[in-house]
Every structure is written in C-alpha cells, then in structure tokens.
C-alpha cells in the first residue's frame, strides 16, 4: 500500500511514478514531489531525532526554513548529511537515511537523554566536568564529542564537480513569488537586464500553495503564465533552483544554482552546483515571509507543523499529513488552512484560536479563546489537549496539528551588511530597517506587505523605483487584499517543556534560565542556550526566544534586541565555494619550455611557487636521490652541467632614467654600470630588511634586464611599479615582465665555455678576454637564432646563463646535451644547484627569510650611503646594527659523517642549552660531495668574528647534538678564481 495520504489535484505528474528509499524501505512518488511530500504521501511522519534529547522529529515546514526533517541524502561518496527533505527534489532511485539515532530511528538509545533533560539544562556543561582535571580530557569530552553532530560525512572525496560563474544585470530580483514575478514583469517589459532568482524548482512562491484567484486565473496558473512571459524575454534570465545566499559589497550577490541535485546522476562534464557572483546595479528583495510557531507543552511531536505547511502539502503536493487535523492559531491566516483542508474533504477536528473574537465557521468547530496545553503520541501526534476559556480542558483526536503564530518577513539579506531590522507593531514582527545594503530595496511580504495584491503592487512599484521607470505600471490582477494585523502570542503559559529551537532542543525554560543567570542580550542568549545555532539558523525560532526574553526582562522586544542574520541564507556545500580550484587545479601550474624534455629524462620535479622544476635527474642504476645529486655536482664541477633557470623572474627596465631607477630600487649603485656588463643587485624593503637579490644586465644606456628570485618575481615587479608610479612619477622608466619570453639555462663548469663555443655563432667572441666575468650581450646561436648571453655564476664555477625564445628552449636543451657529449655534460636540478650555491656561500631563500639585513648577510658595504636607495635609512636603526648582530657563517661538523641540520640552533661549546644562550641557527644544510662532508650556512651572533670557533649544533626536535666548526661561508674557491677563469 503506497501513497495512502495522497489527495487529488496538486502540481505533481501522476503519469510518472518514481521509486525512492528511506531507511531502506521502498516507496513511490511523482515528479513535482519533494522528499518531504513524498514521505508524507506514504504516511512516514517520523523522520529524524533532535540534537540534544534525541526526541522524535517529523516535518515542521515545507520549505528551506525546515529545522527537523533533515536526512542523509544519497549514499557512498555522494552522501550529503543534514539535507532538508523539504527542499530535496524527488528523483527516481533517490535514497535517504535518517540520522543522529542508534540503533535505529524508532528505538534510539540516546533518547535516554530526554529522561535526564532536567539535569542537562542550558549551559550545564560549563558548570561541571572540571574535576578531576584529567577526566575532562580523557572521559567527559570524548563522550560529548561522540554525541556531537547530526549527519555524518562519507569520509571519501566528493567525486562531483562544481563551477563558479559571473553574471551582470541592471536588476537582480530575489524570489519569484507574487512580488518578484510582478517586479520582473515590470522591469522586463521596460527592457532592463533582469535576473530573477528563486530557490524553488517551480517559481511562484506562496502562489503555488494557495487556492485563491488572481484575476480569472488560479494562483498557480497566474504564476505559470507570468513565468512563460518572462522566459520569452531575451533580457530576462530566470534562474530557478537558485538561492541568493549573501549580499556583499557594492551590489555583488552570491547565488548558488543547484544544476544537478535533482538528477540521479550528473551528465559528463556538468557541475552539481554553480556559485554565481552576480554584479547588480540594483537589487530587489522579494523573499516573502516565514510563518512562526507558538510554543506549548510537547509541541515538538511529528505531525505538529506550521499551518501554512499543511496547506502547501495539501494544495501544491496533494498530500495530507493525517486524515484528521486540527489548527492552533492566533491569526486569520491559520483559518485559511482549515478552509482549504476542509474543502479537500479532510476532517478538521477543530480550529483552536487564542482570540476570543476569532472568526467562526459553519464547516468545523472553532474553539475561541482556547489554547493547546499538551499533546500525545510517542512517534507521532495522536491527541491534543485544549484548555477552554472556562478552564475545562478538551481532548481532540488528530494526527496533525497546524500551528500559526503569524508571519515574519524574510529580512535576512537586509542584515548581511549588519543592517538592523526594525519592529513593526501592527505586524508584531521585524521588517527591513533603513540601513540596507546599497542598491537593495525590499518588496512584498519581505517588506511587511502581507496581502497578495499588496505584494503584486509593491513588486511592480519596487522594480519601477529601482530602475527609475517613468512608464506607467502594468495592470495588476484582482487578488485577495485582506488587511493583516497580528497580535503576538508566543507561548502557552505554565508549560513545563515547550520547544523553541526544535533541532537543538532549546525550550522556553532555557530562555528563562538564561535570563536568570544574567545572559540577557540576544547575543548572550543564543550563545548560552544555542538557540538559533542549528542548521536552520533559527529562521522559525529566534523571534520566539527574543520575545520570551523581552517578557521576563519586562521590556519591549525592540528594547531587548533584534535578530540579525549572517550569510549564507541557507547552508552551502563547501565544495561549491571551491569550484574547480581543488586537487591538481588548486593553483595554476607553470612549466618551463624544456619540461617535456626533462620528463623524458626521468627528472623528479618539485613545486617552486606555481612552477614545476627538475629537482634531480636519476639514472636507472641510482636508487637514492643523493647518488643523483652528488653525481650532478661532481660532473658539473669537473666538466660542465646545464640547469634550467627559466623560472627566475625577468624584468625589462627601459627609459632614459632606467639607471637612476635601479639606483633607487637597489641598495648598491648602478649608475656607472657599463653597457655590456652585469652586476649583482641587493634589494631592500623600505624597512631596511633584504627583500630580494638578483642581477641587472645593461644591454644599452637606457635598457636593463633585471632578474629576481623565482619566489619573489611577482612581488618585486609590484614593488618596482609602486616605486615608479607612486614614489618617482616623473622618472622616464618603463617596465614589463619577460619571464615567460625567454628560456634560460645556466651552463656551468670548467668546460662551459668550450660547450657554448660549439653553439654560439662564430661572429661572437666569448673568450675570457672578449667576454669576461659579468659580461652580457645579444648573440645568435645555432646559425642565427637570437639569444642572450650572461656570464654570471651561482655555482662558483666558470659559468654562463644563455637565453633563447621560449619556443626553442626544448630544442636548445637537446642541442646542448648532444654537443656536450664529448665533455660528458650533465643536466642538473635544483638540489645540485642548492648544493653548489651553499658550497660557494651564496645566500638564497633560506637566508633571505624576511628578517635578515645586508649586515647579517655580510653585504653591509653594498648599502650605498651616497644615494637615496630604498631601505637604506631604516637599515641604520640601532638594534639592527648591534655588535653581536647575526652574521652569515659556514658550518662544518667536526666529524664529517655527522649531519648538519637546517633549523638546528647554535650553542656555545659548553654552558646551558636554552634560548637565553642561543647563538644562532642553521639556515641551509647539504652534503657536499666535493668536501665529502655535510656542510651548512647559518646566521650566528657576531659570526664573522668567530671563525674557527667550535660550537654545539643542537636540534632537540630531531634529537641531534653535534659539534661543529664555524668557517667561512665560502667553502669552495673563496678567491673566486674559477669563475674568472
């Protein structure tokens, strides 16, 4: 027997029957159903358990404000915890499970918490579990943590894809109810670029749930007709299944489009969801209103719902929660539910209205001035107990109770920029305040205009006003226009346990206790009781809590505080915010022109910023990386090696003031650098700390090529543009990056010149005399390919850097390898590069760590005092120039086989080992195959004056203490004879 609770009519497609499973039972449903309506249709009322007391939970609402009907949707790696059944569209094969229960939904062991609820009052945990100390960590907390949470993750990577997109419009309309549709028609007909976003899969909002007419159409039919017209307009984009989640600065709205959640499986390449960044000139919030409950004894049983939800299920989904229903209300709208249900042949046990002057009915009993004081039914409502005005009580049999405490405008987005809603006495509700996000206005029920006609009218007017339309407003259909006033009724007096936040189990009592203990501001209330912190963010519960706090404080609600909301409007999968930027696509990957060649050679690659660089090139017989690196170093120092240094930043600096500009940028001077020469450049931040280093080659009087470290290429370029545009705006200097233009290779080793002479075209003399150390120039190679040659050395060997247009990098590398065979040429990677620069004592990233000065690095002399170089003034501050300032030193273990550890600290040979006696630290360490010893560079107090001193190198973290000798940082060729050879 299936769909026993299905009625006639509704907006579902009975020609198609879909199968789905909940807690491993099979059921059927129809297109147009949500999981919630489908469960109700199949008479499933118990759907979940509450957070704290594990009380049985059914559906409270029919929309995205649902706190109770939340499930784990789908299975395996696609399992979605805490999914609202009320917004989950049914699809064939859908599978869902209840959550936060064990062993099963009907018999939940932790329901025992409910028996002890009196001891688990608000904030009880702050007052206990403190003794003995260890018990919290070992016993109490683990128990609390195990009980934490509702749904569970699959613990597998999310296999679906997500996209991000960007859209622009004149007017963004948020919500496609009567106000939103009318606004879109008004703006669309006027030719404006409109985006109309609605979270539902069928636009129309409340119109889809009501039986009254608009003009000569039924409400849903009028909505469908409006949608049809909007869809036909090229300037209107209707985005269904799209929730506008946040209002951000300057008219930017975040919107999540659920493109795949209603599909059994995603088509190849298609996203599950898209995060849209919508850039709007103006925005109109037409988000409608949310019905609010009344708190009374045991008001949390499955079957007790919002009155409007009962109506929605009956009218839109043709589903009734139970054959006998009752309504508990403080306003006329509640009666509308009774009328609609009665018209569908549902037995209305009674309408219980707290008002003595409530409207009467011929069709069913209306209990005026009455209140629901208790309910029965373990897993679902069976009876409600009503206190009559006279004091006697009546018991009504019913399987569902519709509750209406009035309506709250959905002001959420108006608060996203910390705007505060204001209290409206007539509505007894908060309406949007004055301080809205710039460009946002509000229409319809969201603005407190509760009648259908009023919504249509304010939608039309809102759009016209936002776009400054002068044309006449479109004609509006006749529609119900009943004036709405609400007399607040928040909770039934004298009840022991009446729920406000049904998911977090926050009751009226908890709010009163919160007040009693001094937690009296709204912020304290919600933090102390967890009211409104559940997955529904208190959409139905915050206002009740605030009202009760006001009552006990003897203040008005506005005096007590406001309920403001933060983004997102409804919860959003974390993956949606990430889009495609995850896994390998987290950041772009930059490859050098000879990457493919290196791959062929079996290179091992390492990430350097976004670059991939060859780290070393293992040979088939090499089993450990050290074998490869040692070989690369030995071969380079013995003959010749080639290293891809394309990743170094290259900046073209031109203009008549180019030299003067470099004088500002670098601490050392460049004015007198001759054309055809290169110079090492030391760059300081304005605070006097070393920022970067590199070389500047002068190709012409007004043309330099500057190199930066790979890591700092972007920040150095930015710094140069700042200096050029903001500090020296009249300097004639132009900058452009050429990093990607040139493939550049270091050719190093005693045979490097011989190798280059085989490819450099004969008209270019690169002999030591014609092309000495630090020379540079434009040349051609391999019969006419334009290239640049720099005689600079990082390794300390006779070395060059040669650059060719990137497209030829691969070919040049292959050519160098062929031509170099006779010299036993070796390609080397960043590891060997690092070994050789440390052997040579060149400072690099580990030394230029953002805290070191030129003095620390032994380059104090380079900081010219004769010119206005950035950073020179602040580099003179006292503390940066103390006698025992750190200085760059070389570190050698007394026993060569002992390993120097980068990050180890230097301590005197005897004396205590603690921070008070810390002498410095090791910045870089490698094994030198040349010295057959582990070596390191370090920064040590007064280091340059302590050559030959023996120190202890301690690294308690890696459990190491060795004795080392402090030596010059220049382990290899200190006089620099090799690089000048």
């Amino acid at each position: 027997m299936t769909q026993t609770n299905r009625l006639s009519g509704g907006q579902i497609d009975r020609n198609t029957t879909l199968n789905f499973r909940f807690d491993n039972h099979s059921y059927t449903a129809h297109p147009g159903d949500t999981l919630a309506s489908a469960l109700l249709a199949n008479d499933v009322r118990l759907i979940g358990r509450s957070f704290k007391y594990h009380r049985p939970r059914g559906l409270l609402t029919a929309g995205s404000e649902e706190p109770n009907g939340i499930v784990e949707l789908r299975t395996g790696s696609r399992k979605e915890p805490n999914t609202r059944a009320t917004t989950a569209e049914i699809f064939d094969g859908l599978e869902a499970h209840s959550q936060n229960r064990w062993p099963n939904l009907k018999f939940d062991a932790l329901a025992v918490n409910d028996l002890f609820s009196n001891f688990l009052s608000a904030g009880f945990y702050y007052k206990t579990f403190m003794w003995p100390a260890a018990f919290w960590e070992k016993l109490y907390e683990p128990i609390i943590r195990r009980a934490a949470g509702l749904g569970s993750l699959s613990m597998e990577a999310d296999p679906d894809e997500y996209d991000k997109g960007f859209r622009h419009c004149d007017l963004l309309i948020i919500g496609a109810g009567p106000a939103g549709l009318m606004a879109a028609l008004t703006a669309g007909r006027a030719g404006a670029d409109v985006i109309l976003a609605d979270e539902d899969f069928t636009p129309g909002g409340r119109l889809n749930s009501e039986t009254y007419a608009l003009g000569d159409h039924s409400a849903p039919a009028w909505a469908a007709q409006a949608v049809a017209e909007l869809t036909s307009m090229p300037n209107v984009r209707l985005m269904t299944r799209t929730t506008v989640i946040g209002a951000f600065d300057h008219g930017i709205y975040g919107a999540v489009e659920r493109t795949g959640d209603h599909l059994p499986t995603l088509p190849a390449g298609k996203p599950r969801q898209i995060l849209w960044r919508i850039y709007s000139q103006k925005a109109l919030l037409c988000a409608g209103a949310t019905e609010r409950p009344i708190a009374f004894e045991n008001n949390d049983r499955p079957g007790i719902m919002m009155a409007s939800a009962l109506r929605t299920y009956a009218n839109r989904f043709a589903v009734i929660a139970a054959p006998r229903v009752a309504v508990f209300t403080n306003n006329d709208d509640g009666h509308r539910t009774a009328v609609d249900l009665h018209a569908k042949g549902i037995k209305v046990a009674a309408v219980i209205d707290v008002r003595d002057d409530a409207p009467s009915s011929y069709d069913y009993e209306v209990l005026k001035g009455a209140q629901v004081v208790d309910t029965k039914g373990r897993h679902g409502l069976t009876f409600v107990e009503v206190a009559m005005p006279g004091g006697e009580t009546r018991t009504l049999e019913c399987g569902a109770l519709g509750v209406s405490g009035g309506w709250n405008p959905n002001v959420h987005l108006t608060c996203h920029q910390r705007g505060r809603p204001i209290w409206n006495e007539a509505l007894a509700a908060f309406v949007p305040g004055a301080d809205l996000p710039v460009g946002l206005t509000v229409a319809g029920a969201a603005n407190g205009v509760m009648s259908t006609y009023g919504a249509l009218q304010s939608g039309a007017e809102g759009a016209a006003k936002a776009l400054d339309l002068t044309s006449a407003l479109p004609d509006l259909p006749d529609a119900e226009d009943a004036p709405v006033t609400q007399t607040p009724f928040w909770y039934v007096q004298g009840c022991k346990r009446a729920w406000l936040d049904q998911q977090n189990d926050v009751t009226v009592k908890d709010v009163k206790l919160s007040y009693q203990e001094g937690f009296r501001s709204v912020e304290h209330l919600k933090r102390y009781t967890t009211l409104g912190m559940a997955t529904d963010q208190g959409k139905t519960s915050n206002i009740g809590g605030l009202a009760i706090m006001a009552e006990v404080a003897g203040k008005s609600i506005p005096e007590t505080g406001t309920t403001i909301f933060r983004p997102p409007y409804t919860p959003v999968p974390i993956a949606t915010f990430a889009g495609r930027m995850k896994g390998q696509e987290f950041h772009p990957t930059r490859l050098t022109p000879s990457h493919h060649w290196a791959k062929e050679r079996g290179a091992v690659f390492v990430e350097v910023g976004n670059w991939l660089r060859a780290q070393w090139f293992p040979l088939p017989d090499e089993t450990h990386w050290r074998q490869s690196v040692d070989r690369e170093v030995r071969q380079t120092r013995a003959s010749v090696g080639v290293c891809d240094c394309t990743t170094l930043g290259k900046i073209d600096v031109q203009g008549t003031d180019a030299a003067a500009f470099l004088n500002r940028i670098y601490a050392n001077g460049f004015a007198k650098l001759a054309v055809g020469k290169t110079r090492y450049g030391l760059m300081l931040r304005e605070d006097g700390i070393v920022m970067d280093d590199g070389t500047a080659a002068r190709l012409a009087d007004d043309h330099f090529v500057v190199t930066t470290t790979t890591a700092n290429a972007v920040s150095v370029y930015r710094h140069m543009e700042f200096t050029r545009q903001c500090l020296f705006p009249d300097m004639d200097v132009q900058l452009i990056s050429t990093t990607d233009v040139w493939a550049q290779y270091a050719v190093a080793g005693p045979n490097s010149r011989k190798l280059l002479q085989k490819i450099v075209d004969p008209e270019f003399d690169i002999s030591n005399e014609a092309f000495p150390f630090m020379a540079c120039g434009n040349i051609t190679v391999c019969q006419g390919l334009r290239a640049r040659l720099f005689r600079i050395s990082f390794s300390g060997e006779l070395a060059y850097e040669i650059a060719v247009p990137s497209r030829y990098g691969d070919a040049l590398m292959r050519r160098l390898m062929d031509m170099g065979e006779e010299f036993d040429v070796v390609p080397y990677g960043t590891e060997a590069l690092g070994v050789m620069r440390i052997e040579k004592g060149h400072a690099a990233g580990n030394e230029l760590n953002g805290t070191t000065t030129a003095l620390n690095l032994g380059m104090a002399k380079m900081v010219s005092k004769k010119k206005d170089g950035i950073g020179s003034t602040l580099s003179e501050r006292a503390a940066l120039n103390e006698p025992d300032a750190l200085a760059l030193v070389g570190i050698k273990p007394l026993e060569p086989e002992k390993k120097v550890t980068a990050g180890g600290h230097l301590m005197n040979i005897d004396g205590p080992v603690d921070t008070a006696h810390d002498q410095g630290y090791v910045t870089s360490a490698v094994y030198s195959p040349i010295l057959n010893s582990s070596i390191g560079l370090g920064l040590m107090k007064n280091g340059h004056a302590r050559m030959g001193e023996r120190m202890r190198l301690v690294s308690p973290l890696t459990d190491l203490t060795i004795e080392v000798e402090i030596v010059s940082a220049h382990f290899v060729d200190p006089k620099g004879e090799r690089l000048r050879a």
């Binding site: 951000f248 600065d249 300057h250 008219g251 930017i252 960044r277 850039y279 920029q417 710039v438 003031d657 003067a660 304005e686 605070d687 972007v714 930015r718 543009e721 700042f722 545009q725 903001c726 500090l727 020296f728 705006p729 009249d730 300097m731 206005d868 020179s872 003034t873 602040l874 003179e876 501050r877």
Partner: protein
Amino acid sequence: MIIDHPMLGPRDASEFTYLGDASLIDRPDWQADDAAEAFYEYGYLRDNPAGEHQELWYHEAGDRSWLVVTRNTLTHEISKVELARDVARARGRSK
C-alpha cells in the same frame, strides 16, 4: 567589492592587490636632519581611521596601474578612485 578604475571602469576588487594607507606615497627626504624619525613614522605609524581612508590598490590582474582609492572603512563605500601617479604628482613628487 568593486573598484571603479578611472580608465577601465568598474572592476572586481579581487583583480587588485592592496598595499595600505596612501600616505605611503609621501616618502620622506633621505637627506633631511630628521630622516631617521621621519622614515620611522612613514614606515610604521598609521592613522587607521574608522571612516574615510585613502589607500593604495594595485591592478595586478589588470593594467598594472596603482590607484588611490578613497573608501570608508566602516561601510566599505568607495567615494573616489584616482591614478596614484596623478596623486603623487599632485603631492609634489617627481624624480
């Protein structure tokens, strides 16, 4: 946020890189007697107003212009956007 670039029109602020207070344009004279103190204040002290703030943004993913943006730090409202080079010249900077 959106920055209305004086040449390019409205652009998403995520295309820009932020530096800080536009007073960073007013780099002191390195030869002045109080240069040390002046550079310390220039480098380290900020008005940090809760309200209108003139600040430097760099159009890194765009045309590489440095801009001076006048923005309210309480509301994020932007009231003025200028090319930093023009501002620097107006403040008397040259070479």
